[in-house]
Symmetry: C2
Subunit: 339 residues, 2 copies
Amino acid sequence: MSSSRPTISDVAAAAGVSRAAVSKVLRDAYGVSPRMRERVERAIAELGYRPREAARAMRTATRTIGVAVPLLRGQFFADILDGVYDELDTGPYRMLVSPFDHETSERNPGMESLWDREVEAVIVVSPKVRASWLDSFAQRLPTVVVARHDASDHYDRVVNDDRAGAALAVEHLAALGHRRITHLSHNVSGPGTLSPHAVREAGYREAMQRLGLDASLSVVTCGGSEAETYRATAALLDRGDPPTALFVGSDQGAFGSLRALSERGLRVPDDVSVVGYDDTQFASHPRFSLTTVAQYGTAMGRVAAGLALERIKVRTEAREWVSQPALIERESTGPVRLA
Amino acid sequence: MSSSRPTISDVAAAAGVSRAAVSKVLRDAYGVSPRMRERVERAIAELGYRPREAARAMRTATRTIGVAVPLLRGQFFADILDGVYDELDTGPYRMLVSPFDHETSERNPGMESLWDREVEAVIVVSPKVRASWLDSFAQRLPTVVVARHDASDHYDRVVNDDRAGAALAVEHLAALGHRRITHLSHNVSGPGTLSPHAVREAGYREAMQRLGLDASLSVVTCGGSEAETYRATAALLDRGDPPTALFVGSDQGAFGSLRALSERGLRVPDDVSVVGYDDTQFASHPRFSLTTVAQYGTAMGRVAAGLALERIKVRTEAREWVSQPALIERESTGPVRLA
DNA sequence: CGACTATTGTGGATCGATCTACATTTTTCA
DNA sequence: TGAAAAATGTAGATCGATCCACAATAGTCG
């Protein structure tokens, strides 16, 4: 008994007051004399007492926002978490992260686990889970979905204008004289979900058509990891007759493409130009100097947290926030080589 | 009432049985007829019922392991989280991540928050928090500390042999003919805590002495981010008379050094050799091809999770697991240039 | 002084699960 | 057939907080 965690009763006994009195001190409630506060606070310090969140949760809200992210070693997720932390840091809400296996599709166990713990809202990056599941989840708990284009009346969305972003990339390459621009898309889940990668692909197709480049339109689909994109790029290059420019669906993937190009002795941008997406930390490194489309992940995280807080307090209708992408020109792109 | 979360009573009412009966089904306890299980499970599905973790936690263990990591965009932390997830994925335990501000030193709010939520054990990477605080925390809750060298009877440790790792780096450079080897250390918290960076620095000093290079011993201290190491390296180079080799305390930092070297037109390894630490994902990329010391973060995470589970079940005495570092030779190091 | 108001503190119901102790029904088998 | 054993189900205490309702005491003022 004395070895286990102290409870509010232990504190009350030590301070010689009632449990209710201790609770009032804890909650800064009305009706506490300075003398009593003194005694209770001393007892709390002596016992090292901290209230159990579970017992509190039985009666009150948890003041916690859950974040469910795929367990994926990408800089972009870290950026989002940073933004959420930033936004919550100053207020009374805490953040709890529940990672999940990236391949989830029917349900999302990370989100369910947060729901079981009664977080007051959930921020989620879950590109592959079923839209209908997401929608029904959001009917039960305020939900902010990051980086998905599915419309819904039930959850807020923080999303990048991926169509515009893809257009920026294609226009940039076209302006440099490139015609044979291949898109390496991470849109693996097919046309069902409106993942950012599906929209980027659509944006690419549109832009190519608009610029009269339909003939050289070419899409290769692969997973978003560096390794998978490396393999896809290698296969593409070994097929012979490689394109003069690659627009890759993510920086992470673009680094994989650069690896494949390096190995084959192809120079960037002299032989092949490369554009990424996300403007992650390494894109700016001189060893890469990757031209890329910025979507400002940290800002997206901050906004997501802000929307979650609003939803908890008052708002009822769903909202959408769109981040405007920007092209960041670096040295991985250049004029097309004269044949 | 009907709009709020369904409880076990709602399920009991819908199925026409008692609350206790539903509980038995939930827990797979003895004394449930197939017929009753059928009815209860149908009611659960219909209502979309999920038990509240808080109510469960009042009576039973939470089957959750908490992980507290600094909110820091480093690949190494992602590796550890991956390892923990891996290890827990197959069993009944879930994982919950509580990020905290990297600068914490008196207490660690991420760990406290997990303790409030009654996780059964905590895995923590917290290089800067006070050793005494860590020790007293571990007396209350099974704790596995990753990447700290403080001895303790109360927590388990998963640590890399940083002394040996530093020696590997120095020996490698010395074998290539380097004498003027500068160590860029991230040991910013001073000699108080036994952070991995403090031990790496000590290992560097020892190795230099052992090899008779005391005269050219040189340590620069800076933060571990790419940006901070970039600035420190730039300052070092601009001081004139630069060393022929850099041993940087992390890959992250080494990338910053490479940035500074690039900007000054210094070639790697022709002008300066560079060794990192961690063998993170990007080290192997041909654009970096960074020689580095591997400490196998994912394995460390897996081991940490394993130790945590052991501690929860039976073990009482503290244990230590040491990961053996290995030098990964790549192209950022080469023979010293003839003067 | 006496009535009224503030201030300070407490008792005990409550949240939603778990799980022991027990009651009731069904099955087994000598 | 009948007694013991097994199977099935329930009542109600319990975990540790919160917080309403109320009691006791102190303070104010005409």
